[in-house]
């Protein structure tokens, strides 16, 4: 596959020639002390604005552009019909403070989605409020804390495996908890290490299963027993849910709390980094603590239930990222129970297929099956002077978005590959062939890659050393030596 990304020498908005400013008299409208002088937003023809952003879009790579095997991010096809539904005036033009009687359709959708997600996760209740996975984690830990406090216990220790996502550490850190990181054994949770870490201070153990190596933690019930015996709760990071739909569930694995990433598993578009949606499901014992409001159904219809005295309160405004929840709901209806199971079947098949075909090209530490993703290592290429970053950059020249790199940390020169279920065998074969070819290339070609993208390798060190985060900072900065 050969590829050349578009390159436009597109000026910044602020560099474009602006039509004259039309001053406007606001003396009657704004108190003297607050009157603004000057506003440096250029006045451009609408067509020029559209052309500007269209050109920028051509210098950007999305799933619709090409294969995007970014591990742990589940970059699968975002169906187009859900975009149309989310743009309906009955979604876009309803205000969140409207009287319940005037938003029964929206409330019904939320109510049903709460129920569907609870079923998928094997949980008893779900809040749709968190805006993203990390906020789901934060919410989940607040729930765990409220649960323990309600039982008269103060627990402030969160245990994490070394394969955990960075957000797990950050969520626990934000809440001021003590973090105990336990090392993996053969790519899995070390039960002995977990046993010695867990105790009467353990608030929760956070785990993603399959873990970030794509390995299913087959001792999950023993893990649950250890955590529960210590009085702690078991938290399921749902980032890797795409591997297990219809095969197992966090509830069945004895997890107490789970967050979903609807922008991963239920394919709401990633939007260049957001918006997402991170609902949280819990077992019965934690239900009283869920954020307000939950959507309930009574004799008069669907209802926003704020009467929840033990609730942790709120983690964001209103009810969640509604327009994303509509997309996820429609996707689930479209797929159904049978279709969602097939999602995981194909996702796991694709991952194992690529892993198998890469044998002899890259090392894949740890034996056995993988679920929806796997982690390869480029460590053996070090003798040729090639690092993972070089492979990643060179893959772009072949029209692929690179996999996640340098994560998880326990694998040296890691490359985390998640093909997802929506890719064909042809695409996977071509990707493997490209990677095979790249590994055999002249190392200099790799180290100077990418060659075919809009710009060449970007100087990230310089960006961090002399941060220029706005036009205002650019103007104030000394002219950069080139």
């Amino acid at each position: 596959m050969s590829f050349r990304q578009a390159y436009w020498d597109e000026p910044l908005l602020m560099e474009k020639r602006s039509a004259p400013e039309v001053p406007i008299d606001v003396s009657e409208l704004v108190p003297p002390k607050l009157r603004r002088v000057g506003l440096a937003i250029p006045n451009l023809a609408e067509f020029d604005v559209v052309r500007h952003f269209t050109r920028l879009s051509q210098m950007n790579f999305g799933i619709d552009t090409g294969f995007y095997p970014l591990g742990s991010c589940t970059m699968k096809f975002n169906p187009k019909f859900t975009e149309e539904l989310a743009a309906l005036p009955t979604v876009a033009r309803i205000h969140p403070d409207q009287d319940e009687a005037t938003v029964q359709g929206a409330l019904r959708l939320l109510y049903e989605l709460q129920g569907i997600l609870a079923k998928i996760a094997g949980m008893d209740a779900v809040t749709l409020q968190p805006a993203a996975g990390a906020q789901g984690e934060y919410t989940g830990l607040l729930l765990a804390s409220a649960y323990h406090r309600d039982r008269g216990e103060t627990r402030n220790q969160v245990i994490l495996p070394d394969t955990a996502h960075g957000t797990n550490f950050a969520s626990a850190g934000m809440l001021g908890y003590d973090i105990v990181e336990i090392p993996s054994k053969d790519g899995r949770v070390d039960l002995k290490a977990l046993g010695s870490a867990a105790g009467d201070k353990t608030l929760a153990f956070m785990l993603t299963n399959p873990n970030t190596l794509g390995i299913f933690e087959e001792h999950v019930l023993e893990i649950a027993d250890v955590v529960h015996a210590a009085g702690g709760l078991l938290y399921y990071d749902g980032a890797n849910f795409n591997a297990i739909l219809g095969r197992t569930s966090p509830g069945k694995m004895n997890f107490d709390i789970v967050h979903f990433n609807l922008h991963k598993t239920f394919t709401t578009p990633h939007g260049g980094g957001g918006p997402g949606a991170g609902p949280v499901g819990v077992k019965k014992a934690l239900e009283p603590f869920l954020p307000v409001p939950l959507v309930s159904l009574n004799g008069r219809g669907y209802h926003l239930d704020y009467d929840r005295p033990k609730s942790i309160g709120k983690v964001r405004a209103w009810y969640g990222n509604f327009a994303l929840l509509v997309r996820a709901y429609a996707y689930i209806l479209r797929m159904g129970g049978d279709g969602l199971r097939e999602v995981s079947d194909r996702a796991v098949l694709n991952a194992n297929y690529v892993r198998h075909r890469l044998q002899g090209v890259l090392d894949v530490p740890f034996g056995g099956l993988r679920k929806h993703e796997f982690v390869a290592s480029a460590a053996s290429l070090a003798t040729k002077g090639i690092r993972t970053v070089d492979l990643a950059k060179r893959l772009m020249d072949f029209g692929y978005h690179p996999p996640t790199v340098y994560f998880p940390h326990l694998v040296e020169e890691a490359m985390m590959i998640e093909p997802t279920e929506t890719e064909t065998k042809e695409t996977l074969d071509a990707f493997v062939e490209a990677l095979t070819k790249i590994v055999g290339e002249d190392p200099d070609v790799l180290r100077s890659a990418p060659h075919n993208t809009a710009v060449r390798r970007v100087d990230e060190v310089r960006a961090a050393r002399e941060p220029i985060l706005s036009a205002r900072m650019a103007k104030a900065a000394k002219p950069a030596p080139s």
Partner: protein
């Protein structure tokens, strides 16, 4: 493909899942064709009354501004909306430039030097701002206005759990609706890490005392703004604010029943290394061409883990692109017109309501933006119910949050209210004369 892996069946792929945790299937109905799903979801949602079906005078952080079609045309470019966080800058220059332009536009509106690419919404931006004030200043108390949208207060409390910082409220002046400066001075002390005020404030009233509040304290000064009002209002940077936050939904995103939203977050240059969230920096590529990339990542969760400034990963990037497009389409001239038009309409509506016997609008003296408080002498809730019965949605009743305003409601207007919608509201209010 199974053969290539050396397996017999799809079930073999799941052999590593122990029998004890397996489930036979998902307990959900089978999938449906696309047309059936579209019909079903559309029909379910048809039970909603939109603001087109029903003249609606709600604001309080979510506004029904007109969105030029070009905004959606750009955010519907699948190169943008089907991409992920631009970890790989060479292949993501378009999004990176758009987000850098967004940051620049937010700096221009707020008078700050730097902005991040977004927080989830204004309430989480407030939570993050308070945490940042604590990082910068230490201290045990964060001051907020008592007149503040309730969910912002509630979210703030949850964001401060790990810091030990307590929230204290400062009351408002009963005549002007602005912050009571006397009460502010009483609340200030050496243990205060930050002070938060909004302009326009919760009542839609312009907060004219930004300089006085700045001068009253050395603590971190956080100002919440409405980005559209900023077109004609002096930026908080002019008054010495350290951090500016706001709800960016009015900039090109529909209301969507409250989500997604866009948390604006900007600060002074000296604070950038303590700022939460993703930021885009300007740099060069290997050939010396201008290029952009995510930067200062050592503040973030995937590098710094538990020492990160925030756990935020997925944010609201596409809404930031929408905001940049919206502001570019309007330009300074268009944005000023929208802002001025909002004030005139709100003023006109308030005056018309005030003329109806029994009603007072606005109840606070002085200049407002596009919201104002309406009081009815016999109490507002009965008015609200009667309006609903007539197919008109009144403002946000205030009694639940501020008991002294149980007879009042917060009304909002934007350029989208038709003359007919306003006339219907006024006609229904006349019935309470």
């Amino acid at each position: 493909m199974l053969r290539a892996i050396g397996l017999q069946s799809v079930d073999d792929l799941f052999a590593d899942i122990p029998a004890a945790v397996r489930i036979p299937k998902l307990d959900l109905p089978d999938g449906l064709p696309e047309d059936v799903v579209v019909a079903r979801v559309t029909s379910m949602l048809a039970a909603n009354k939109t603001v087109v079906d029903m003249p609606t005078f709600l604001g309080g952080g979510s506004f029904d501004h007109f969105v030029p079609a070009s905004v959606r045309a750009i955010t519907a470019r699948s190169e943008f909306y089907t991409s992920y966080t631009p970890y790989q800058p060479e292949i993501s220059q378009g999004l990176l430039q758009a987000l850098w332009e967004y940051q620049s536009l937010m700096c221009e509106l707020t008078g700050m030097d730097a902005a991040n690419t977004s927080m989830y919404d204004a309430s989480t931006a407030l939570g993050e701002a308070a945490r940042m004030a604590h990082r910068l200043q230490g201290g045990k108390v964060f001051l907020i206005p008592r007149a503040l949208r309730h969910h912002r207060r509630a979210v703030l409390a949850n964001y401060l759990v790990g810091t030990g910082v307590k929230v204290r409220e400062v009351d408002y002046d009963r005549a002007t609706g602005m912050l009571d400066l006397g009460k502010l001075h009483e609340a200030l002390g050496s243990d205060v890490c930050g002070v938060y005020v909004e302009n326009p404030n919760f009542f839609g009233r312009f907060e004219e005392q930004l300089q006085e509040i700045r001068d009253a304290t050395k603590a971190i000064f956080v100002v919440g703004v409405n980005p559209i009002a900023q077109a004609i209002v002096r930026p908080p940077g002019d008054f010495g604010a350290d951090i500016v936050i706001g709800e960016g939904q009015p900039l090109g995103t529909p209301m969507n029943f409250g989500g997604p939203l866009l948390g604006i977050f900007a600060c002074r240059q000296e604070h950038i290394r303590k700022m939460p969230g993703r930021v885009i920096g300007l740099t060069r590529d290997a050939n010396g061409h201008r290029a952009f990339c995510m930067t200062l990542q050592t503040r973030e969760q995937h590098i710094r883990r538990e020492k990160a400034m925030s756990n935020i990963c997925t944010n609201e990037s596409l809404l930031a692109v929408a905001a940049a497009t919206y502001l570019s389409v309007l330009g300074s001239n268009g944005l000023r017109r929208v802002a001025a038009d909002n004030i005139r309409r709100a003023r006109g509506l308030a005056a018309s309501i005030d003329k109806i016997s029994g009603f007072t609008a606005p109840i606070f003296r002085g200049a407002h933006f596009n919201e104002f408080v309406v009081r009815h002498k016999k109490g507002y809730p009965a008015v609200h119910r009667a309006l609903l019965e007539k197919g008109v949605h009144g403002g946000l009743p205030l009694g639940r949050q501020l008991p002294e305003l149980r007879d009042s409601a917060l009304f909002a207007t934007t350029g989208r209210h038709t003359l007919e919608a306003v006339a219907r509201l006024l006609a229904e209010l006349e019935a309470f004369r």
